[in-house]
């Protein structure tokens, strides 16, 4: 139960993008197309799933106060937690490099789809943020740390996928010129964040409410998807018409 709770909490309630604004830079920069957003999102899940448990081990056995006690009782008083920033970022940078090499060697197909995004990820605040929040929220076991890494990765993935889809469509709307591009993206993200705030009721709303809410949401999502598909068709036709006119 603890695992399930943490998992959904890190995806929806503590969503990296909408609740803590982590990884906003790449979120804004790489969300112009769904396909690239998909690649980056997948890479983020992957790297978070690797680095959060690893940094948990580092924190537990090297950095925190009294963590070095396994070396001998005389080390019990050492507190290296001031080094955690530099240790975490070094781990992340090397892991990203390592993952890149391994993936390139063993799965060229995956490398081609993730490849260009991996170096970008070393400086994505979502990754370091994952480790730092893991530390400050005092995640208790390695399993939970892995869970937290994957969960928050999925949360980020959903967020970037959603905004990329919206940005692809918003091109066809009449946005005020000064608000085009960045401005409207900010405002839409704000509105999405307000929507995500309502997930806060998931944990407080009681056990029975949870399941219902989720099915309702998935139903709604299906509807929305259908609507989007319909609109897309109409837009495609319009576009085709336009290109024909231009050709003429």
């Amino acid at each position: 139960m603890e695992h399930v709770e943490l998992f959904f909490k890190s995806i929806f309630i503590d969503n990296m993008v909408f609740a803590t604004f982590l990884g906003m830079c790449s979120y804004l920069a790489v969300s112009k197309k769904v396909s690239t957003a998909f690649g980056l999102g997948a890479a983020v899940i992957f790297v978070l799933a690797v680095t959060v448990p690893l940094n948990w081990l580092l924190d537990q056995y090297i950095l925190r106060e009294g963590a070095l006690v396994w070396l001998g009782p005389e080390f019990a008083e050492y507190d290296l937690s001031f080094l955690s920033f530099i240790m975490f970022i070094a781990t992340i940078a090397t892991m990203v490099q390592l993952v890149e090499i391994i993936v390139e060697k063993f799965s060229p197909a995956l490398y081609n789809s993730l490849g260009i995004f991996l170096p970008l990820i070393a400086v994505n605040c979502a990754i370091l943020g994952g480790s730092l929040f893991m530390q400050s929220r005092e995640i208790a076991t390695l399993g939970l740390a892995l869970n937290y890494g994957i969960g928050s990765g999925i949360g980020w993935f959903l967020a970037i996928l959603a905004i990329a889809a919206i940005r692809e469509k918003i091109r066809y709307s009449a946005v005020p010129p000064a608000l085009r591009g960045l401005g409207i993206t900010f405002i839409i993200t704000g509105l999405m964040a307000i929507g995500f705030m309502s997930f806060g009721g998931m944990l407080t709303g009681g056990d029975e409410g949870e399941d219902k809410e989720q099915t309702e949401i998935s139903n709604e999502k299906n509807k929305e998807n259908k609507d989007i598909v319909l609109k897309e068709d109409i837009e495609n036709k319009e576009l085709a018409g336009m290109t024909i006119e231009i050709e003429k």
């Binding site: 909408f18 830079c25 530099i86 400086v123 990754i127 943020g129 900010f186 964040a193």
Partner: protein
């Protein structure tokens, strides 16, 4: 203007408006949004970034000829991480309460894209003095947005500035509250930061048409 030539002045003033790191270059958004619920945190964050970016730019610029380009990202990360640890320890020593509220976000200065962005785009190709000016300029441009957002969020959300009530007392019903004014608690919530930055971008681009994006 003996100290600053015209070109150098431009380095400082450009990021202030027309090349603002947040609204134009889209760098350093994360921290700008997360900690701006109150003005004090925004100011401390701006000063921390000013220190890290100013010093970091000089250090990277001094080392620019000896860093092998393949491992430059790791070198840059180590330099930033060291500076951020200094900031973190100083805050813990002199402003413990504040360092608690900022929490993980001080650490996140390391991956603040503004810092890596300026290292990559400027410090690696320019001398220490100009890099220093560029760092200061960009950090100030970043700070200005932070302080504007923090100012409005705290004023409209809690009716205070730097923790001092400026609109009267909501419980005693003095000042503005006597006329039925209410604090807008929503301004404290994270989404409003996004919307406020969106509005700042709107204002800025309406004033300067050259900045408008195609799509």
């Amino acid at each position: 203007m003996g100290l600053l030539s015209k070109k150098d002045t431009k380095l400082i003033t450009d990021p202030f408006a027309d090349n603002n790191p947040i609204t134009i270059q889209v760098l350093g958004i994360c921290s700008a949004l997360a900690i701006t619920a109150e003005l004090k945190a925004s100011i401390v964050m701006s000063i921390s970034v000013l220190f890290v970016l100013g010093v970091g730019n000089v250090v990277i610029s001094l080392m620019r000829n000896i860093i092998p380009s393949k491992i430059r990202i790791i070198v840059q990360l180590i330099v930033v991480a060291t500076l951020v640890i200094i900031v973190d320890l100083v805050l813990k020593a002199f402003a413990y309460e504040l360092s608690k509220t900022l929490g993980a976000f001080i650490g996140l200065i390391i991956t603040n894209c503004i810092i890596m962005g300026r290292f990559e785009a400027f410090a690696l190709g320019n001398g220490p003095w100009r890099s220093f000016l560029d760092g200061i300029g960009n950090a100030v441009g970043y700070g200005v947005i932070l302080i504007i957002v923090g100012f409005f969020r705290e004023l409209l959300g809690a009716g205070t500035l730097l923790g001092i009530p400026v609109l009267g007392d909501p419980i005693e019903k003095t000042g503005l509250y006597a006329y039925g004014y209410e604090n807008n608690g929503f301004m404290i919530m994270p989404p409003m930061a996004l919307i406020l930055v969106g509005l700042i971008i709107w204002v800025q681009r309406s004033r300067n048409k050259a900045l408008i994006e195609e799509h």
